[in-house]
C-alpha cells in the first residue's frame, strides 16, 4: 500500500509538471500581452521597463524555470491586476467565499441526494421513484446559471424573500448555496439509486432476510454499506469541483470568490495568477483522486485484506 501511494505521488508530480508546461505555453501562445497598447496607453520606455521588471523580456524557457523555481518555494509571484499583494494573498482572500458556498452546497446537496436516491431505490417503479429521478435529471441537465436565474426570479424578484445577490450577511448565501447544491444532489441521487438497486438484488440480501433480520437493519447496515463505496469515492473530487468556485454561480450572485478570477486572469493576461489557479486545481484534484482511491481500498475488504487464504 505504501509503495502504491508513493508511486501515485510520483505520478502526480509528473502530471503537475506536464500541466505546468502546457499551461505556460498556452498562456503565452494567446496573442497579446498584459501591457498591450490598446488596453494601457503607456510610453514605450515605461512598457519596456515594466516588462523587464517582471522578467517578460526574457526567453520563454527562462521565464518558465524562474516561475517554477518560485513555485517550489511557494512563491507564486505578484498578480498584475492587483500588484499590492502576492498571488497567495489574493487567493487566500478570494477563496473563503467559494469554500463556504461550495462546502455548504455539498453539505446540503449530498445528504438530500442520498435520501432521494434511497427513496427511489426502495420504492422503485412508484411515483416516488419517478419524481426522484425527474428531480435528479433536471438537476444535472439544467445549466447552473439557469437554475440561478430562476432562483433569483422566484425568491428575490417575485417573492422578495431573499436578496438577489451580494456577499456578507448569511441571508445572501442561501440562494447561491441552493444553486451550488443542485449538481451534488442530482449526482448523488443517481449514484445512490443505482448502487442501492445493485446491492438490493444481491443474493446475500435474501440470505439476510432468511436469517430473520429486520428490513431496516438490512437496508441501513448491509445494503447502504455495500452501496457506499462508489458514494464515498466521488465525494472528494466533487468537493474540489464545488469548493474552487463556479464561475457561473459566483457571477450570477456577484460573489467575490475564486470563480471570477479564472476569467479575469485569462482576459488580462495575468500570467502569475492564471498559473497559480490552474496549478492549485491540478494539485487539489490529483490529491482528491489519490485519497479517494485509498478510501476505496480501505472500504473494500477484497482489496484491503487481499486474496484468498484458504
Amino acid at each position: 500500500m505504501i509503495m502504491y501511494i508513493l508511486r501515485r505521488l510520483v505520478s502526480i508530480m509528473v502530471t503537475f509538471l506536464i500541466v505546468s508546461v502546457i499551461i505556460f505555453l498556452m498562456m503565452h501562445a494567446i496573442p497579446g500581452g498584459p501591457f498591450d497598447a490598446q488596453d494601457m496607453p503607456l510610453s514605450e520606455a515605461v512598457r519596456a521597463k515594466l516588462m523587464a521588471r517582471l522578467g517578460l523580456d526574457q526567453p520563454l524557457h527562462i521565464q518558465y524555470f524562474k516561475y517554477m523555481w518560485g513555485v517550489l518555494h511557494l512563491d507564486f509571484g505578484v498578480p498584475y491586476q492587483s500588484p499590492g499583494e502576492t498571488v497567495l494573498q489574493l487567493l487566500s482572500r478570494a477563496w473563503p467565499p467559494s469554500l463556504i458556498l461550495g462546502g455548504l452546497g455539498m453539505l446540503i446537496g449530498v445528504p438530500t441526494g442520498i435520501l432521494l436516491g434511497m427513496a427511489a431505490a426502495l420504492k422503485r417503479n412508484t411515483w416516488i421513484d419517478y419524481l426522484a429521478s425527474a428531480v435528479a435529471t433536471l438537476g444535472l441537465t439544467i445549466p447552473v446559471f439557469v437554475i440561478s436565474m430562476m432562483l433569483i426570479l422566484v425568491f428575490a424578484v417575485w417573492l422578495g424573500w431573499l436578496p438577489a445577490s451580494g456577499w456578507g450577511e448569511p441571508k445572501k448565501w442561501i440562494l447561491p448555496i441552493i444553486a451550488y447544491a443542485a449538481i451534488p444532489m442530482a449526482t448523488y441521487a443517481r449514484y445512490t439509486r443505482s448502487a442501492m438497486l445493485d446491492s438490493l438484488n444481491k443474493p446475500f440480501v435474501t440470505v439476510l432476510r432468511a436469517k430473520g433480520l429486520s428490513e431496516r437493519r438490512i437496508i441501513f447496515q448491509h445494503v447502504l454499506r455495500n452501496s457506499s463505496i462508489p458514494m464515498v469515492t466521488v465525494f472528494l473530487p466533487m468537493f474540489i469541483g464545488t469548493a474552487t468556485g463556479s464561475i457561473f454561480v459566483e457571477a450570477m450572485f456577484r460573489v467575490p470568490g475564486l470563480g471570477a478570477y479564472f476569467v479575469t486572469s485569462i482576459e488580462t493576461r495575468d500570467y502569475p495568477l492564471e498559473m497559480a489557479l490552474i496549478l492549485m486545481i491540478t494539485m487539489a484534484f490529483s490529491l482528491a483522486y489519490l485519497i479517494s482511491d485509498i478510501l476505496y481500498a480501505w472500504l473494500n475488504p477484497r482489496i484491503r485484506v487481499g486474496g484468498t487464504q484458504e
Binding site: K202, P203, F204, T206, V207, L208, R209, A210, K211, G212, L213, S214, E215, R217, H222, R225, N226, L299, N300, P301, R302, V305, G307, T308, Q309, E310
Partner: protein, 321 residues
C-alpha cells in the same frame, strides 16, 4: 400438528409477457424432525415453493395465495413482518445454492454469525455470541475456527463458505433446515462431505430437513421421504426407498432413467425428450403429458387425481392408476 402445513399453494410472477405460474396448487406437510427431499428439474417450482412459504419473494411481482400456509402454529399468510422475521432463522433456517454470494462481502464471518444470534437472542452479549460462533464453526468441521471468524467471505473457498453458512443457519437451533441445492455450486469432491455434514447435524440436533435438489443421488443419501415436482405440481410422494424401487409416475421413472450411470443401448445417457413446460402457458391437464410416453387424450384435458399405492406413497397420473 405438522411443522409445515401447506394447502393449495399457488405462486405466480407478473411479467411483461404474462403471468408466470411457478407453483400451481401444491399441498404438502412436513412433520417435526422429518427429512424430506424435493426433487425436480430447474423451473419445476421446488425452490419457489419454500421461498414463498417464508414470504421471501418480493411481492409484487410475486403473487402468493394458499388455502392454508402454516409453519408451527403461525399463519404465514396473515403474519406481520415482525412475526415473519422472528420465525425466519429461528424456527426455519435456510441455506442456499451459491455460498460465494450468500455472505455480505464487507463484513467478517464472525460479524454475520453474531448478528444472526443476536437478532433472535438480543440478550446474548457480543463476546458470548462470538464464543458460540466459534463453537458452531468447529461443529461444521472448520478446524481453524478462531482464524476463520476474522476472515472476510472472499478469503474462504466455496466449501468452507458453505460450512460457514450451515454454521450460521444452525446458530439459532432451528426446528427445520431448508437446504436449497446446497452442493450444486461446489466441487464434486466437496459435495459428499457437505451432504454428510448436513445429514449428521440433522440427526445430532434432531431437526427437520428439507433438501431441495435436482440430483436424485443427493436425495438417496440424505432424506426419508421424497416429493417429485414437475411444472409447479407434485407428481409423486413416497418414502425414498419406494421412489427408487417402485416409481409409479412416468416422470419419476424417466428421471431415474436419466441418472448418470444409466446408459441406453447405444451407450448414451438417457434423456427425457422435449423441454420443460413454459410456465406462462402451462399445458392443460397433466403438465408432463407433452413429454410422456404413455400419455392418453384424457391427460391433456384434465388434471390427474391423487392415487394411493401404499400408506405413504401417492402419485398423480391417469394412465398408471
Amino acid at each position: 400438528m405438522p411443522l409445515i402445513d401447506i394447502q393449495n399453494l399457488n405462486v405466480s410472477f407478473s411479467q411483461h409477457e404474462g403471468l408466470l405460474q411457478a407453483v400451481r396448487g401444491i399441498s404438502l406437510q412436513v412433520e417435526a424432525g422429518e427429512s424430506v427431499g424435493i426433487v425436480g428439474e430447474s423451473g419445476s417450482g421446488k425452490s419457489v415453493t419454500f421461498m414463498a412459504a417464508l414470504r421471501l419473494l418480493r411481492e409484487p411481482p410475486a403473487i402468493v395465495t394458499a388455502d392454508r400456509l402454516n409453519i408451527t402454529d403461525i399463519d404465514i399468510m396473515s403474519a406481520d413482518k415482525k412475526k415473519l422475521s422472528s420465525l425466519r432463522g429461528r424456527v426455519v433456517a435456510m441455506i442456499f445454492q451459491d455460498p460465494m454470494t450468500a455472505f455480505d462481502p464487507v463484513f467478517t464471518i464472525a460479524h454475520q454469525i453474531i448478528e444472526t444470534i443476536r437478532t433472535h437472542r438480543p440478550r446474548t452479549s457480543k463476546s458470548e455470541a462470538r464464543t458460540e460462533a466459534r463453537e458452531l464453526l468447529l461443529r461444521v468441521e472448520i478446524k481453524n475456527a478462531a482464524d476463520v471468524l476474522n476472515y472476510y467471505p472472499h478469503q474462504l473457498s466455496g466449501g468452507m463458505l458453505q460450512r460457514a453458512m450451515i454454521a450460521m443457519a444452525l446458530s439459532c437451533r432451528p426446528q427445520i433446515l431448508i437446504a436449497d441445492e446446497p452442493t450444486t455450486a461446489l466441487d464434486v469432491t466437496i459435495q459428499a462431505q457437505i451432504l454428510q455434514l448436513i445429514k449428521q447435524l440433522q440427526i445430532e440436533l434432531d431437526m427437520g430437513l428439507i433438501m431441495i435438489t435436482h440430483d436424485l443421488g443427493v436425495i438417496a443419501e440424505t432424506v426419508d421421504r421424497v416429493l417429485v415436482m414437475y411444472g409447479g405440481r407434485i407428481m409423486e410422494q413416497a418414502p425414498v426407498q419406494e421412489i427408487f424401487d417402485n416409481p409409479k409416475h412416468p416422470y419419476t421413472s424417466a428421471l431415474l432413467q436419466s441418472m448418470s450411470g444409466n446408459l441406453n443401448k447405444d451407450g448414451r445417457l438417457t434423456e427425457i425428450k422435449g423441454t420443460s413446460p413454459n410456465p406462462i402457458t402451462p399445458p392443460s391437464g397433466c403438465p408432463f403429458h407433452p413429454r410422456c410416453s404413455i400419455a392418453q387424450p384424457k391427460c391433456a384435458t384434465s388434471s390427474p387425481e391423487v392415487s394411493q399405492v401404499g400408506p405413504d406413497h401417492t402419485f398423480n397420473c391417469w394412465e398408471v392408476s
